[in-house]
């Protein structure tokens, strides 16, 4: 009897995959991944080394207000990127703000994935009336510009919340708004793919074996629909961060007491004409770096997973 080759560990399998090869042979993708890693790590380890907690009013000192960055004349250590008009250290504010932006982006993508994949699987697997209802609802959502949906949802949900919860719940409201405007795309992709897979023999075999429908959907069909979803989710992570920033910039997102990058840009924007450019420009820069890194990774992933381009 010949011994079967031992199954490879997950790590070894990853290192032998085409995807890993394509990644290690694409400088742009590796640079973007490195940048993203640095941005995420710096955002989440910030409390360990930044000079102040910018969310804690007790740590702000008006005497330290309006310092320019350290290399400009009048810059003060340890305020490397300067301070705003309330003595808030810009670097600390940016790192804490990135943490909020990243968390909201991540939460909304994950939630939109769950809703979208669930809807798409159910619609594609059962077809008929359920499919029609779910997809028509999606069509209607798609026929309104997404930014409008996000603004309306966040404005209305905030209005419906009791006033005490509005500041605390701001993050949740934003996630809800982004999810509601974003899940349709996943649902459509998964539904189309599921409808194709449903007719294949392995699904029929599972059905004859009386495997429960839920298990067929999630264990058998879902893995075969994941590739396009993965690409869309990566690109949408960037989009979600942008949508959050836009809503916060418009004043219907994160409040000034727990500012995300968008809130920081909105607050700094008022001082653009008084020459204090650093209050706005550094959060803008951080936001752009974050989204550019995510988009470059997403672009690479789309090409690497596209069988036509191999």
């Amino acid at each position: 009897m010949t011994a079967l080759p031992r199954p490879l560990s997950r790590l070894a399998r990853l290192r032998q995959s085409d995807l890993w090869w394509s990644f290690t042979h694409n400088r742009g993708a590796m640079a973007a991944a490195g940048l993203l890693l640095v941005l995420i790590l710096s955002a989440f380890t910030a409390p360990l080394y930044v000079p102040q907690n910018p969310f804690d009013p007790a740590q702000l000192d008006l005497l330290n207000a309006e310092y320019p960055p350290i290399w400009a004349e009048g810059g003060q250590w340890p305020y490397i990127l300067g301070t705003d008009t309330q003595g808030r250290d810009i670097l600390s504010a940016i790192l804490y703000g990135s943490r909020i932006s990243i968390l909201i982006g991540l939460a909304s993508v994950v939630l939109a994935l769950v809703v979208g994949i669930g809807t798409g699987l159910v619609a594609g697997y059962y077809g008929g009336l359920i499919e029609n209802l779910l997809m028509r609802f999606g069509d209607i959502l798609l026929s309104i510009p997404t930014i409008l949906i996000a603004i309306l949802v966040s404005a209305i949900v905030r209005e419906l919340l009791p006033p005490a919860l509005r500041e605390v719940g701001a993050g949740g409201v934003l996630v809800l708004a982004i999810v509601l405007s974003g899940w349709v795309q996943y649902a459509r992709t998964v539904r189309a793919q599921t409808a194709v897979e449903r007719g294949k023999e392995y699904v029929q075999a599972a059905q004859l074996l009386k495997v429960p429908a839920r298990r067929i959907m999630f264990r058998h069909i879902l893995p075969n629909t994941l590739t396009p979803i993965l690409v869309a989710a990566t690109l949408n992570f960037g989009m979600a961060i942008l949508t959050e920033a836009t809503l916060s910039f418009l004043g219907i997102g994160m409040p000034a007491s727990q500012p995300s990058l968008g809130t920081l840009i909105r607050l700094g924007n008022q001082f653009l004409f008084s020459g204090m450019w650093w209050i706005t420009v550094f959060p803008v820069l951080q936001l752009c770096l974050l989204v550019v890194a995510v988009n470059i990774l997403g672009d690479w992933l789309r090409d690497a997973l596209n069988p036509k381009l191999r």
Binding site: D139, I140, S143, I144, P145, I147, L148, I151, L152, A155, I156, E159, L160, G238, L242, A245, T246, F249, L250, G251, I252, I265, N269, L272, F273, G275, W277, T280, V281, V284, L287, C288, V291, V292, V294, N295, I296, D299
Partner: protein
């Protein structure tokens, strides 16, 4: 063809009805309209009378039908905030937004099409790789960031273009335009450039992809063999065959541009519909929000339907596939 037309129009009407239902639900159930219209001295009897007068005691379905009937006639009620007719508020702001959006569309075509052709022809060259990279950055920059950076560079540092407002405008009947005065034209520059940047990258990428496809086809090879000048092959023979999708995308995107203009309008304090909407959102001025939602969605749906029908007129195969 007639069946296709009817189906497509019915579909559009259904979507609009759903949007209207959404607007109505917001209008009816977010905050109590009566509470928002009265002051503290109003007695309970007066409130009840007002409630009856507004028809708020009728069944919800009847109220919805009335809402739709009024909306079709352009009556969206009275703004909670400044007691003006919502429709006249929006009509006042409408030209500013449309002017901005149309100018941005023109800029995106004038800049985006040549860039797309160039990057398709000189594929792999240093310049077109650079342009490709810039287009990723263009997609990644949110439009408010572009606006802020433009203001910082051209208004604060160089001081060559105004950063907010619409300048002087001239009224032509109910339409107002800034195109006829120097200050109006100057005020248009930065907002329209800010709004068009994202569109430019879209047009450029689309033209590039289409061009690369067309350049491989036989009639291009034949033109080359015949010795037609290169520029003529690229800009006449090939480009003409790529323009259809570009026109479609441009037409469809005008709707989303109107929606996205609200961000640009906020950054540049541009007195358009979008800024009206954002102000309404901050003051929870529901009638204005509902009206804006209906009007923008209507433009969006109408454009999409129009494009679909035009396509079906041109290409009979689509009538079967969609009908």
């Amino acid at each position: 063809m007639i069946v296709f037309l009817i189906k497509r129009l019915a579909n559009a009407a259904l979507v609009m009805l759903a949007v209207a239902l959404m607007a109505f639900l917001i209008f009816r159930f977010v905050g109590d309209p009566v509470q928002l219209m009265v002051n503290e001295q109003t007695t309970q009897a007066e409130k009840d009378a007002l409630r009856e007068n507004l028809g708020l005691n009728d069944p919800v379905a009847v109220q919805f039908l009335r809402f739709v009937g009024d909306a079709v006639q352009g009556d969206f009620g009275v703004s909670y905030r400044n007691q003006q007719e919502v429709m006249s508020l929006i009509a006042e702001r409408f030209p500013a937004t449309i002017e901005l959006v149309l100018l941005a569309t023109i800029i995106s075509l004038v800049v985006g099409v040549p860039l797309g052709v160039y990057t398709a022809i000189h594929r792999g060259s240093w310049v077109s790789e650079g342009l490709q990279f810039l287009s990723i950055i263009g997609v990644s920059l949110p439009s408010f960031v572009i606006g802020i950076l433009l203001i910082l560079v051209f208004s604060v540092m160089l001081n060559i273009a105004p950063a907010f407002g619409r300048g002087d405008v001239v009224s032509l009947g109910w339409w107002t335009t800034g195109l006829l005065t120097p200050s109006g034209r100057a005020a248009l520059i930065l907002p329209s450039v800010a709004l068009s940047l994202y569109q430019i990258t879209l047009v450029m990428r689309l033209v590039r992809a289409e061009m690369m496809e067309v350049l491989r086809s036989d009639f291009i090879k034949f033109a080359r063999a015949r010795g037609v000048p290169r520029w003529r092959i690229h800009y006449v023979h090939a480009l003409r065959n790529c323009l259809m999708p570009v026109v479609t995308m441009t037409a469809m995107n005008i709707g989303s541009l109107i929606a996205f203009a609200l961000i640009t309008e906020t950054v540049f304090q541009w007195p358009g519909m979008g800024m009206l909407f954002i102000q309404a959102v901050t003051f929870v001025d529901i009638p204005v929000m509902a009206a804006y939602l209906c009007i923008v969605s209507f433009i969006f749906v109408a454009l999409n339907t129009l494009v679909d029908i035009t396509y079906a007129l041109i290409d009979p195969r689509l009538r079967m596939a969609r009908g």
